[in-house]
Amino acid sequence: MEEGRQSARADLITGGVFILLGLAVAYAAWEMPRFANRGVHPWVAPGVVPLLLGGLLALCGALLGWRAAKQGALGKLSQHTSWRMLIASVESRRLWAMIALALMYTLVLLGWLPFWLATGLYVWASIVIFETVLSDKPRRLWRSLVLALLQAVLVAAIVTLVFQYGFLVRLP
């Protein structure tokens, strides 16, 4: 029951998001040039299809929200399913860690360090963090550090060599 209400609440919120997104798209489409001076028929203007799609998305969003409201999305959720749980549970911590590591690697390290070094660091940090801090059966830190370093060096070297010289691909 609680879970059903939780997903209904999520549907209610996303329904609202889709209504806003749909209307924004429709508005932007409406504002697009119609090229009437070039003799373009109003139905052939660039904004026609986005306008239709924006409208449809808003309609579907409204249906989704309406259905969610009927399923009890407006009812009160218990403490256990509050927003804080979204951050505090073990699963969420694992998720956020993975996202943070991935973003750090792609957005920061890759522009700053050479590809092989950035990749090695990312692989090393990911393995160590998931094997020790975020694991239910944590490994000993020094063991994980050494083994992960070995894997990181191998991966960085192999990926760089294979892609650059084997498949002739340019790397970031």
């Binding site: 999520a10 139905w43 924006g54 579907c60 989704l64 699963e91 993975m98 991935a102 792609t106 239910d136």
Partner: protein
């Protein structure tokens, strides 16, 4: 005459790939596909999308050969983890685990894997026969398709995929489809060369590339899903016989053929892929079986149906790819993108411009079927070791590949950012039970829909009549409307009541409910 010509072209296709280089590519790509399919979290679509990068520098025919081997290998490989871990390696093997895992618990893991191998091979072969027979016919039909028909085909593709990939909740399927179509609206449109939704970002003027989007939605999103889970599953092993007895295969010949045909037809339906093909074949087999009670408890027949069904989808999914440039599954969508990269233009003109290509594809499928059979029956014990790789060690490497893949095609970091965006968005949408296939279909078919709607209206000076009166248009419009109407609860309840009144209830609705 037609038949003989086809056979000689098929011979030509097979001969074309009887070179050491081709056979080498078949060998490694199929094996890599099996490994990717086995590993939970790495799907066929992701494998094919990442491999597009590696095959970028190859000649077109070798690149497509490699990608098809990856596709077939991965769909087959998924059965391994379904049987040994009770976790389908790819969504296509979800039905396989229903009977495969109980068999493994009974100590018959090896035999289950052997039977899955032979069933996959049979399924692919049935699909290949349908591909070789129906693709030329459909291509002929496609010549009658004009602007109006292509518009409806695009609409139909998105709607049917939205309906069938979100069985329980079609509304979410349709929303996913609309989101995909909206993504396709980004960038320069072709009629007036106006840049839509680019917000001054010049990298957006060419639109969103499908490969980075797919790598995000099927790679990064999947990595997040896998890494979030707390526990890892245990592998079951057994030392029993692997090669299936002929009598076990022969006993289920009806099930095999039925599942193969169901799978192929599910494959033809735009954007409806292996997972649905497998479930539909499984449901049909259970309905027709004499041993219904065994299903779910380790039935050989159920396993056969699931594996034949999902493998037959692959050649089926290639039928609309080659004849209409419409993807029959998400991995097939990547194949379309890859063909375009290599200057192979799928669609009605393919049969005229490059008639031998269809038979080359048939030959590719035959070669990879042979490869999965050989690997499947011989490397059982070696391949099990792949499942022992811990995800902590594997997933960071996969993410590195997800970064390289999108970058390599056009050498810009922007595509990597697109991958990250689609990964995060895809993860959130998936968590909220939105199917991914309609999004992919929307992205692929958006331009087709937009251009043909407006071109059609330009031709008639704003009069929409031909969209509804030309025979094929009318048919496609009718089916699309029907699909949408049935998914509205009020309408479907009314139809149900009508059927009840007419005494058709058990036949029609019992069947539909069963399939869910």
């Amino acid at each position: 005459m037609f038949m003989i010509e086809g056979l000689s072209m098929l011979g030509g296709g097979i001969q074309h790939f009887l070179t050491p280089l081709s056979l080498f590519n078949v060998a490694w790509a199929t094996l890599l596909g099996i490994v990717i399919g086995m590993l939970p979290g790495l799907t066929a679509t992701m494998g094919v999308a990442l491999l597009v990068t590696l095959t970028y520098g190859m000649p077109g025919d070798q690149a497509i050969l490699t990608l098809i081997c990856m596709y077939v290998g991965a769909i087959y490989g998924g059965s391994r983890s379904a049987i040994l871990l009770n976790i389908p390696g790819t969504p296509a093997s979800a039905a396989t685990s229903l009977d495969g895992f109980p068999l493994a618990q009974q100590g018959k893991a090896g035999y289950a894997m052997g039977l899955a191998t032979v069933s996959s091979a049979i399924g692919t072969v049935i699909g290949i026969i349908c591909l070789a027979v129906f693709a030329p016919l459909l291509a002929e039909l496609a010549f009658d398709f004009g602007t109006y028909e292509f518009f409806w085909l695009a609409v139909f593709g998105v709607v049917i995929s939205g309906r069938l990939t979100a069985m329980g909740d079609p509304l979410k399927g349709y929303i996913a489809g609309i989101l995909g179509l909206l993504v396709a609206m980004i960038g320069m449109e072709s009629l007036q060369a106006y840049q839509r939704f680019t917000f001054g970002v010049h990298q957006l003027s060419g639109g969103i590339d499908i490969i980075p989007a797919m790598v995000g939605a099927f790679g990064f999103a999947e990595i997040l899903t896998v890494m979030r889970r707390r526990y890892d599953a245990k592998v079951l092993v057994s030392q029993d016989r692997v090669v299936p007895r002929f009598k076990d295969v022969w006993r289920f010949k009806r099930t095999s053929v039925r599942s193969g045909i169901i799978g192929t037809f599910v494959g033809i339906v735009p954007g409806v892929g292996e997972d649905i093909g497998s479930w539909a074949s499984y449901a049909a087999a259970r309905r027709a079986s004499k041993e219904k009670e065994m299903f779910g408890k380790g039935s050989y027949e159920g396993l056969t149906a699931a594996e034949t069904g999902n493998s037959a989808v692959i050649p089926g999914a290639l039928i609309p790819v080659l004849t209409l440039a419409i993807p029959g599954s998400t991995a097939a969508a990547v194949l379309i993108a890859a063909m375009l990269i290599h200057d192979i233009r799928p669609g009605p003109m393919l049969m005229i411009e490059n008639p031998e290509f269809l038979y080359q594809v048939v030959a590719m499928l035959l070669f990879t079927t042979l490869a999965i059979t050989l690997y499947g029956l011989s490397l059982t014990k070696v391949l099990v070791k792949v499942l022992a790789i811990p995800r902590e060690k594997l997933m960071p490497v996969v993410y590195v590949l997800c970064v390289i893949g999108p970058f390599a095609i056009s050498q810009r970091m922007f595509d990597v950012y697109v991958m990250i965006f689609f990964g995060l968005a895809g993860f959130i949408l998936r968590e909220m039970k939105y199917p991914m296939a309609p999004i992919v279909l929307g992205i692929i078919l958006g331009t087709l829909l937009d251009t043909n709607l407006r071109r059609g209206l330009a031709l008639t000076d704003g009069d929409p009549t031909p969209f509804f009166t030309r025979p094929i248009s009318m048919l496609l419009f009718g089916i699309t409307l029907l699909v949408i109407l049935i998914s509205i609860p009020v309408v479907s309840r009314t139809i149900k009541r009508l059927c009840l009144a007419l005494g058709l209830h058990g036949k029609l609705w019992g069947k539909a409910r069963h399939e869910r």
